[in-house]
């Protein structure tokens, strides 16, 4: 079984494994007891992994300090593999690929055509579940890269349910013949491969050019599903046109819109606490204001003592009797207001989300940048045969009615 096919328990020498450093940083390794996995925090010796169960966290002391760094060693799956690919690659992401696989009813009965191979991310998902995958790639460098990868991952050589072919399917169709640039191993008497495809995925700039070639390679006696993956709406239009022209029916275009959410917390800040905080500040301030006011009025009063008109102000003095002015030039002597004490929300300090000194409410936040569009998916179906074998039907009828009951129940 391939490294993707088998459920392995323990990490073993020679395994293809994925090292999880962080969500955005997942790296494939081939386990080799003499090797090290290097990160900027230090080197993780492969021998620390060998013999441990998959999923194990591995710790090392970080370089030049007594701190620790951790990685997880995972067994590859098509989805993890997709996550590990650099983002600039052309990737069919899991929300799209999983929907396409479901809608084309992919399973052990499926013979799938995929064109083009691209980054190979979708190929891995197909390979996991279908009887056979025929992948076509028109770009030579990408073909070689993907073929090498499929071999390394055991899809071609071990699992043996993937065939990759270098081909411009728009020009040359899907038939794989002896002599083609393909991973297929022809037997001596075999001239071409009988694809019998019943599920087709076209990720091509001009799928309408490839459509007419399909009839010769699809399964004749069943309903065959087709999905074209196109970023622009004009491509969809041309695709639908070609589908109709080539006898495909039940055409429907859909978009998959998926989102991821971050689990976050927002501090619970009650109005009551906010009010109490302001009261606290106010009372500190009032002290200062009262002091300034006394100073000011004393100053006025002093001048008024030279005046006759003192009555009017006297009544205001009632509340300001207790303290003495500290200075005549009050405006230059603003009293320092004591730091307030009631600080329910930790203002002024950096509070970490989830700090247990505060109360929090669980909230979800959509990822900062969402993949708002991948491509339009245009589905269609076709059945080539439209007759029945009357002889077979009669035989079946006799057989079925002769049995007391069917195999079910």
């Amino acid at each position: 079984m391939s490294y993707f096919g088998e459920f392995k328990d323990l990490i073993q020498e020679g395994d293809l494994a994925l090292v999880w450093i962080s969500r955005d940083n997942i790296k494939p390794i081939t386990v080799d007891s003499k090797e090290f996995f290097n990160t900027r925090y230090g080197s993780f010796p492969h021998r620390d992994m060998i013999g441990k169960p998959y999923g194990s966290q591995i710790a090392i002391r970080t370089k030049g300090s007594n701190k620790f760094a951790f990685i997880h060693v995972l067994q590859p799956t098509p989805e993890l593999w997709t996550l590990s690919l650099p983002h600039r690659t052309q990737i069919v992401y899991t929300p799209d690929s999983s929907y396409i696989m479901e809608r084309l009813n992919c399973g052990p009965n499926s013979n799938v055509i995929e064109a083009g191979t691209g980054s190979g991310s979708f190929s891995h998902a197909f390979a996991r579940n279908v009887k056979h995958l025929y992948s076509f790639e028109f770009h030579e460098a990408r073909y070689n890269q993907a073929k090498e990868e499929f071999e390394k991952h055991g899809l071609i050589n071990i699992e043996n349910n993937v065939t990759i072919t270098h081909r411009d399917v728009c020009e040359s169709g899907f038939t794989i013949k002896k002599g083609d640039v393909t991973s297929n191993q022809f037997k001596d008497d075999e001239e071409y491969v009988n694809l019998e495809a019943n599920a087709i995925f076209l990720d091509l700039p001009a799928p309408w050019e490839a459509l007419p070639h399909l009839d010769t390679v699809i399964s004749k006696d069943e309903s065959v599903g087709l999905c074209c993956f196109s970023p622009c709406i004009e491509q969809v239009d041309k695709t639908i046109e070609a589908m109709e022209k080539n006898g495909w029916i039940n055409i429907q275009m859909v978009e998959i819109q998926s989102k991821q959410y971050e689990s976050r917390r927002q501090m619970i800040r009650t109005l009551d606490d906010a009010l109490e905080r302001l009261r606290d500040i106010k009372s500190h301030k009032l002290e200062g204001v009262a002091r300034r006011k006394r100073e000011f009025e004393n100053m006025i009063n002093e001048e008024k003592k030279l005046d006759t008109n003192a009555n009017k102000i006297d009544k205001k003095d009632i509340s300001t009797q207790t303290e003495k002015p500290t200075s005549k030039k009050a405006q230059n002597n603003r009293p320092i207001i004591a730091k307030t004490k009631f600080n329910p929300f930790g203002k002024g300090s950096r509070v970490r989300e989830g700090d247990t000194n505060f109360q929090w409410k669980q909230v979800s936040k959509v990822e900062t940048e969402i993949k708002s569009h991948t491509s339009y998916l245009t589905f269609a179906f076709k059945t080539i045969t439209n007759t029945r074998d009357e002889e077979l039907f009669q035989k079946e009828l006799e057989f079925t009615t002769s049995k007391p009951s069917s195999h079910k129940k």
Binding site: K67, G247, Q252, I256, Q260, T385, L392, T401
Partner: protein, 494 residues
């Protein structure tokens, strides 16, 4: 005949009616199926054609050959009151790709583009400008409802195109509509009088759509096909896995898993192919509810072999082997032969119980770990998942479905603070269907709102406690999740 490809006897199929509604039927030989107002047909007529074929019911049968079918809707009425549906001959239709069916009826404002409708030969207007907007539709439609009903009653002996032509003739303002409006109008009418139907292969997708049609969406936890697709892929569901599953959808989820793991399994396959995979279904009631599997084409034997069920109580508090053996005495052949029939029945029940108990012991053995945990349950997940987690092997997927995001948010917070779970991820996926008609492309005006949410995480094995030296992991190594960085990890980068 290959029952995975052609319509076969004793198979469950999904019938798509002219109205777009779905009906599940079992194809028993020499029987007939009634589609209610759309007619009835003999099953034998459709056997042997490829699954996915479209048929029309044809009533031009020779005298004396007519039959009648019972209408399931009429069953509650007394026998003599039941309306019988005449049975016609189902004839394969060769598809001519016409206007697409995935349109909706809500955009007259776009009426004057009209790049289709070459097939229409009725007079038409460039836009709907002169259409009476205030009027009651029945004023425009000159045929009264009663008249149409009358036509419907007679329709068994009428060509549906005739009815439609009649209706067009009596629609006062038909010629004032644009070509596109006319086409839409015709499609609408056609869906009421047509006698066409499609025989689809039973698939999870169609079973789901059937349940949605029936309004059973709550029963299946508001799950959408796209969410299920994500469950299958993120759950890494494949033919050789052994999965721990909670399925409160009555078996829908399990059925989807079976399709992915086993495909279509014929009797022949069961003898010749090796099937390894297993689904262990944990349930919170005494008995498991996988009712929907009754619509599947898997044999009871196959289901029994690959789907095992166990209650949460048995799962968490399994009996010991000793208890089981103590609780049951195997009788010898000799003893058995002495039992009366009644006694033998009792004994049979008890022996069945005994094997069930043995299976429980087997499934819950300490060293038995599963290749994935797939949960669609309304039990509180924050308690449930950490209790099931230890049964999952490292590096395997945990995927939980919930109708509500808030439930999974709570769960992801819980798992985030547990070193046994890596990177809990909250996801949503929605499929947005388009009116896929050239020249009139746009998303459908309305669609179902639900579909649920997913939480995906990986089971991992934390590194053993680190010897007694100072631990102070750098903050920027994410996902390290040590106590020291707890506050940091609470701000989850997902």
């Amino acid at each position: 005949m290959d029952s995975s490809k052609v319509i076969s006897f004793n198979q469950h199929v999904v019938l798509e009616l002219p109205s777009g509604n779905l009906k599940i039927a079992e194809l028993r030989p020499n029987n007939s199926i009634s589609l209610g107002k759309f007619g009835a047909f003999y099953i034998n007529d459709i056997i042997g054609y490829p699954l996915g074929s479209r048929f029309e019911i044809n009533y031009e049968v020779k005298e004396g050959e007519e039959g009648f079918a019972e209408d399931s809707k009429e069953k509650k009425k007394p026998k003599h009151m039941q309306k019988k549906i005449p049975i016609g001959k189902a004839k394969l239709m060769i598809e001519t790709p016409a206007i697409n069916e995935t349109s909706d009826d809500n955009e007259d404002r776009s009426d004057s583009i009209g790049t289709i409708a070459d097939e229409l030969e009725y007079e038409n207007s460039l836009n709907n400008k002169n259409l009476n907007i205030k009027g009651n539709p029945s004023e425009i439609q000159e045929l009264s409802m009663a008249e149409i009903e009358e036509m419907k009653k007679q329709y068994a002996n009428t060509n549906s195109q005739d009815i439609i032509n009649k209706i067009i003739q009596s629609h006062k303002e038909f010629n004032l509509k644009t070509k596109y409006s006319q086409l839409k109008y015709l499609n609408r009418k056609k869906s009421k009088f047509s006698k066409e139907f499609i025989v689809h292969k039973m698939t999870g997708r169609l079973l789901l759509n059937y349940l949605i049609d029936k309004g059973d969406i709550q029963r299946i936890m508001d799950m959408s096909e796209e969410s299920i697709g994500m469950i299958l892929n993120y759950g890494n569901v494949k033919s050789n896995g052994k999965y721990l599953v909670i399925d409160e959808t009555g078996g829908l989820l399990v059925y989807f898993m079976m399709e992915r793991m086993f495909g279509h399994v014929t009797e022949n396959d069961m003898e010749n192919k090796k099937f390894e995979g297993e689904i262990i279904v944990i349930h919170e009631n005494e008995h498991v509810n996988l009712d929907l599997l009754k619509f599947s084409n898997y044999s009871e034997k196959f289901i029994k072999k690959h789907i095992k069920s166990i209650s949460i109580l048995d799962f968490f508090e399994p009996p010991t082997e000793e208890e089981i053996n103590n609780g049951f005495t195997k009788l010898t052949r000799e003893e058995l032969s002495k039992l009366s029939n009644g006694e033998r029945n009792v004994y049979q029940r008890r022996i069945k119980g005994y094997y069930k108990q043995c299976q429980i012991v087997e499934l819950t053995k300490n060293d038995r770990k599963y290749d994935g945990l797939i949960v669609a349950s309304t039990l509180q997940l924050t308690q449930l998942i950490p209790r099931l987690g230890p049964k999952i092997h490292g590096s395997r997927s945990i995927i939980c479905y919930s109708q509500f995001k808030e439930i999974l948010l709570e769960l992801s917070h819980e798992l985030y603070s547990d070193l046994n779970y890596l990177a809990p991820t909250l996801m949503e996926t929605r499929c947005r269907p388009y009116q896929s008609v050239r020249g009139k492309l746009h998303p459908l005006m309305t669609m179902r709102g639900g579909g649920g949410y997913l939480m995906w995480s990986l089971k991992v094995e934390p590194a053993p406690p680190i010897p007694s030296i100072e631990i102070e992991p750098k903050e920027d190594i994410s996902e390290t999740k040590n106590e020291e960085t707890e506050a940091e990890t609470k701000k989850q980068k997902i």
